[in-house]
Subunit: 136 residues, 6 copies
Amino acid sequence: MIYLTRRERFSSAHRMFRQGLSDEENMKIYGKCSNPQWHGHNYVLKVTVKGEVDTVTGYFMNATRLRDILQEKVIVKLDHKNMNLETDFMAGKVATTENLAMAIWQELEDALAKEGAILHCVRVEETENNYVEYYG
Amino acid sequence: MIYLTRRERFSSAHRMFRQGLSDEENMKIYGKCSNPQWHGHNYVLKVTVKGEVDTVTGYFMNATRLRDILQEKVIVKLDHKNMNLETDFMAGKVATTENLAMAIWQELEDALAKEGAILHCVRVEETENNYVEYYG
Amino acid sequence: MIYLTRRERFSSAHRMFRQGLSDEENMKIYGKCSNPQWHGHNYVLKVTVKGEVDTVTGYFMNATRLRDILQEKVIVKLDHKNMNLETDFMAGKVATTENLAMAIWQELEDALAKEGAILHCVRVEETENNYVEYYG
Amino acid sequence: MIYLTRRERFSSAHRMFRQGLSDEENMKIYGKCSNPQWHGHNYVLKVTVKGEVDTVTGYFMNATRLRDILQEKVIVKLDHKNMNLETDFMAGKVATTENLAMAIWQELEDALAKEGAILHCVRVEETENNYVEYYG
Amino acid sequence: MIYLTRRERFSSAHRMFRQGLSDEENMKIYGKCSNPQWHGHNYVLKVTVKGEVDTVTGYFMNATRLRDILQEKVIVKLDHKNMNLETDFMAGKVATTENLAMAIWQELEDALAKEGAILHCVRVEETENNYVEYYG
Amino acid sequence: MIYLTRRERFSSAHRMFRQGLSDEENMKIYGKCSNPQWHGHNYVLKVTVKGEVDTVTGYFMNATRLRDILQEKVIVKLDHKNMNLETDFMAGKVATTENLAMAIWQELEDALAKEGAILHCVRVEETENNYVEYYG
């Protein structure tokens, strides 16, 4: 088994809040991350897939193909978007990095399996000091 | 003369658009950066000041004091904010990195002069691939 | 299960040596890292905790709370300190990165468990070329 | 068990292609990475070893010794070389990052075992956006 | 005046040597960088342009337009190429970072002037430890 | 004129204090940086030299030669040392980054001139958030 990781980036607006709670209640839970006027980040996404190397080609999945799938399934839906309002796979969810990583996993798992790659890890970095990893 | 640089970070939502133009016209000029639903970035701010080193203390301005001024004058007004809607010194301006760098210069110049430091450069990095520098 | 990592930094002086050995003997084992006059590093600490995401809040532990615990339990005891002479949890230990990572684990495990977070990994980076990971 | 990682760098020329195929056929499979005139990268190698910490010395393997083994067994054979033409352990292999990581594992496993260190992971980063990990 | 910098990357093979000298003589001057079998790097290019901000648009040159010019004039001629053999603007020159930076300046100056931007600096980073800057 | 920059690193212990003042008085001026038990940093040094490119060799100074001079004149005197107690060119000076940058300039200027290179800038980075530049 070998593990291949591709790094992509997206810049999104978001806000952490729970529907049904007032802005004040959300501020108590999420602090400044709940600002009703939004804020945003340069997110870094690292997706790791695993597979057996084909001895003829020397890989199990072309890194360019991995990049294209990440772009099509994830990045175009998040980059220069408001993830609360515009990203279909985040609809109705609190826009935490944790929920984002799990939602990205759902978007990618089957598409990668069709390429013969097993999704191993979705890592989402929100700032240089915080990141989340999900292994399914 | 010696030059001292302090690096700070802030995460903001913004949108590039000109008042008086339609969303379509703004999209023609600014592309996806004009998304009416906002997007955001982890901005990096690097402020360089210059001065003559005091031979007794070994510096002309304490880096901690520089940090405090940047925090008070700039970062609290931008971090986890929507710079178009909430940052006083960006009111009525197109929220380009260029305008942001020049506005930050205005906020800092006098406050730094009172400390005996000459503002030399304001650098604002919007992504790992783009940044702007202003020297007054 | 989801994994959350927080990055913190501290700047410490240290020296690697074993009590009971002469400076010459320590230099044979630890080389320049055993300099009796001390040297120091900008250490990077990355602490990873794991837990089940609460579907209501969208996380299992607030990253700000994680930061506060790291600051209180670890960073204040190491930053701008001499870890051999001033850091209680390093007393009597050789100040290797390995021992440092294991000692930090001891300081954090219970405090994090009280927050409902399982400590997964303590990573200590001494330079850009060397780091150590401890998983308990 | 504790994990120690050492980072090294090497700058190599390479080309991905399969012997027996024409340049055109190789370009179909590997794209621009198959350019017959070569291209190159600043590779980053991260090798992780594991072991039980010796309570007397505070480590299980000196990081300097790990560096020396990586230099002797791997870096001198790749740095400022053409890995297709000059690196013995890549002879006859497609020069993918995957094959490179597995070949480096073979070069290192026994040499590290002689030092009492168990090889845990070989990570090869080809660009800032792509890397491969091999765990044996 | 405001300064805008765009960062791009390219991966090239090269070799430093002077025509008319033997491989041995070239190795004396350029060391391992003169390896006749080639080596390569992930180069980083940072191009800085300057201009007066248009008060209506908030910039003097769109960063996307700057990126497109760098791609068209420079990156496509260097990325995944052998700069000695395939890059027209390096023909007949020793492939030092210094010559590369000066040649890139020549390629860009007029194209940028047509956009109303004054080329200020071409910076080429060969490794994380070496870079060259040219100001015309 | 072209500008060549070389990056080197050193790990030192230091303390900021003025002789003749008590520890308490020094703490008032320099804060935690004045800890009498020392602390330390991974410093990054970037030295920029300038010159006219020799059209025959393609450079004005070999980057390897620049590295060797930095190592011999500066790095060996600072790396894994206590700069207050062991670095000759810091004797009697407050160990600020400002004084360090100016002292390094003195150490390098003549040695570089003998190589035909004009020293342009000494940059010393103390942490990822603070650095100082000196231009003579």
